[in-house]
């Protein structure tokens, strides 16, 4: 019975071999190959040149992840405390933007953030820009918001926030209510119940939320291209340039991808260790 059912997994195993394992192998092979086809480490020796891009990518992804966590955790927590009807509606509202094409969503942020975009027009109307000029002696016609790191982070937060909320929510909502009652019964006030019981027990959700936001953020290229205007080059853009752009150099692109992948994997392993440690730290 078990064997027969497990045969149903065969298509996915094939799929994974073809489209997950094979590409990774190809990336590794490419990364160690020169343009002429021989073995080389040259692709990696040039990595130092891109240190700034690496640093910026990780920094922005980290900031975006932190913001998602700060926004997402309370939302998940509040949601789980509400009635089932509220939860269903809230869930749909959170998922709703994801039904719209990713590029379209990001594109719409451009028209909001532009120099004469919606937001600046609004600030103009309420006199905020004039006020700012009067207060700080500046001479602005608009707030420059497009093509900044802030805009890129905003794009990441906007696009990936649901990936933070969903895993945390699904862990908290399944929390056994009697554990919370037990903690209260044993003398814990609201804050202690949260810190000692709810938070440690929701940590698995937090960890998978962080992973699900951080990984796509660090490798995104569309967001930085559209909202960063290409001035704030991120790893994703850099890699894209090597494959599709003018700087055509797939070997280098593969090497950058590989380094990024290794760093991300190391980060995740360290974080999961830290997560377990955290659980024990609370225990002590």
């Amino acid at each position: 019975m078990k064997n027969r059912l497990s045969r149903l997994a065969v298509p996915y195993v094939i799929w994974m071999a073809l489209f997950v394992v094979a590409p990774i192998v190809m990336i590794v092979v490419y990364a160690f190959t020169s343009a002429e086809g021989g073995f080389t480490l040259a692709n990696f020796s040039r990595m130092g040149l891109y240190g700034v891009v690496f640093f910026r990518s990780f920094k922005l992804a980290l900031i975006a992840t932190a913001i998602c966590l700060v926004i997402g955790y309370p939302v998940s927590y509040m949601m789980s405390k509400e009635g089932p009807k509220f939860q269903r509606v809230a869930m749909v509202l959170i998922m709703l933007p994801m039904w719209i094409n990713f590029l379209l969503r990001t594109y719409s942020w451009m028209s909001i953030l532009e120099n004469n975009g919606l937001l600046n027009q609004f600030f103009q109307k309420i006199g905020l820009i004039g006020l700012c000029n009067a207060l700080f002696g500046t001479n602005l016609d608009y707030f420059p918001m497009m093509n900044t790191q802030g805009a890129v982070v905003l794009g990441m937060v906007y696009n990936y926030l649901p990936f933070m909320i969903l895993p945390i929510y699904s862990v908290i909502v399944k929390l056994d209510g009697s554990l919370i009652e037990a903690a209260r019964d044993l003398g814990a006030n609201g804050l202690s119940v949260f810190r000692r019981v709810i938070l440690p027990l929701s940590l698995p959700g937090v960890l998978s939320g962080i992973t699900m936001v951080f990984v796509p953020s660090v490798s995104t290229f569309a967001i930085s291209k559209m909202l960063g205007g290409g001035t704030e080059l991120l790893l994703g853009d850099l890699i894209e340039q090597q494959f599709l752009g003018g700087a055509y150099n797939p070997q280098l692109g593969a090497a950058i991808s590989l380094v990024m992948m290794v760093i991300v994997v190391v980060c995740m392993v360290v974080m999961n260790r830290f997560g377990e440690g955290e659980e024990q730290a609370v225990m002590l």
Binding site: S178, A183, R184, D185, G187, V197, L201, V282
Partner: protein, 392 residues
């Protein structure tokens, strides 16, 4: 033993217009083992949660040591709870589960009474170890709850509550999830712990045998009302109405007529009994326990009937006897074959007369005996039904 600790005064509780508790009045003494007993949905758990502070009554007062505590949150009550499914913290080991309450406590600093301090680590260690000793789980302090058996988890849950030295321990069907053998052991264990720590236990169960074994006082509840309060002996020997008689043990409940004090009429015959205080000619319910009936030759019997079924139970036979269409359960060590005509004799102290109540006529006939008895007999089956009923 006699000092009053908790009093429930005129408690009513309604959920969405449905009356769950109807004018509950109850006092609980210090160091007493009191059991709230009743079928599921009778309001016993709601009563317990109210004492614990997890729900507030719609009307009425909860008094603790003479002080009204209706609005005092659970963490400020000197009461701890053992939850139905233990509710051990899965992310903490046994030691930390037990230490949880102690770590939450703040008490006046001995050097500066205005300041509050935590309990020092050495004291926490000492008290947790002491509890581990009481529950015989020394050496388990580093285990996670999921690495413990049901009985062990149960004991950790008790230790976790007791370590705070509460004045009252609330236990919500704590043995429900254990198998029969373990349940029997834990009943004795619980009683021992209660006597050792010398505090009040308030225990909720639907298992009448558990209640009879452990309690000083039993409160029988049904449909949100208290049916009877008394010692196990009182409840068993002098049930107040047909519901209590049926719920506690096996009972034959027969329509009767009080002729005068100490004389009751059933089946047109008069039986001497010990009860009085009824109006002459008042209709009553008569409870006769199956073990209080003696089988005698037909000519000597106060009543005669026909045996319709015989079940061997090891210690005794359970026989069903038809008396003019009303079937009785009789437990006897003498074998009577199916179809035999027998006579019965009942001593005056075996006859319990009760006032008619809303429950009259609902219980006490064993004509559907075989089905009902199968269910009663199969404890696990009854328990399963109870549980699935609870979840609905």
């Amino acid at each position: 033993m006699s000092k009053e600790l908790i009093r429930l005064r005129n408690i009513c509780m309604a959920f969405d217009d449905e009356l769950v508790l109807n004018n509950i009045n109850l006092y609980i003494n210090d160091k007493e083992f009191l059991t709230l007993l009743g079928p599921s949905g009778c309001g016993k758990t709601t009563t317990l949660r109210m004492i614990g502070g997890f729900t507030t009554p719609t009307s009425g007062d909860v008094l603790f040591d003479g002080v009204r505590i209706n609005d005092v949150p659970p963490h400020q009550r000197q009461i701890n709870t053992v939850f139905q499914k233990y509710a051990l913290f899965p992310h903490l080991n046994v030691f930390e589960n037990i230490a949880f309450g102690l770590r939450m406590q703040r008490r006046p600093d001995p050097s500066d009474p205005r300041k509050k301090t935590k309990i020092p680590e050495e004291e926490i260690r000492e008290r947790v170890m002491e509890m581990l000793e009481i529950i015989s789980l020394k050496g388990f302090e580093n285990r996670r709850p999921d690495a413990l058996s049901g009985g062990q988890q149960q004991r950790v849950a008790i230790a976790r509550a007791l370590v705070n030295r509460p004045k009252v321990l609330l236990l919500d069907e704590p043995l429900g999830a254990l198998d029969l053998k373990l349940r029997k052991d834990m009943q004795i264990e619980l009683k021992r712990i209660q006597q050792q720590v010398g505090i009040t236990f308030i225990y909720v169960t639907h298992d009448q045998e558990e209640a009879l074994t452990m309690s000083d006082t039993i409160v029988v509840m049904d449909k949100g009302s208290i049916q009877q309060i008394g010692t196990p002996e009182d409840i068993y020997n002098e049930p107040k109405n047909a519901f209590v008689a049926d719920f506690i043990g096996e009972s034959n409940i027969i329509d009767g007529l009080m002729v005068q004090d100490k004389l009751v009429q059933m089946y047109g015959r008069q039986f001497p009994c010990l009860d009085g205080g009824f109006a002459p000619g008042e209709p009553v319910d008569v409870v006769i326990r199956p073990e209080d009936i003696d089988i005698v030759p037909v000519e000597q019997g106060q009543l005669t009937g026909t045996v319709t079924s015989v079940t061997f139970k090891g210690m005794q036979y359970d026989i069903i006897v038809d008396f003019k269409g009303f079937k009785w359960l009789i437990q006897t060590t003498d074998h009577s074959p199916e179809g035999a005509r027998i006579g019965i004799k009942i001593d005056p102290d075996g006859i319990h007369v009760m006032k008619k109540s809303q429950y009259s006529g609902m219980f006490g006939d064993y004509s559907s005996f075989s089905d009902e008895y199968d269910e009663l007999d199969d404890a696990s089956l009854a328990l399963d039904e109870e549980e699935s009923g609870d979840e609905e």
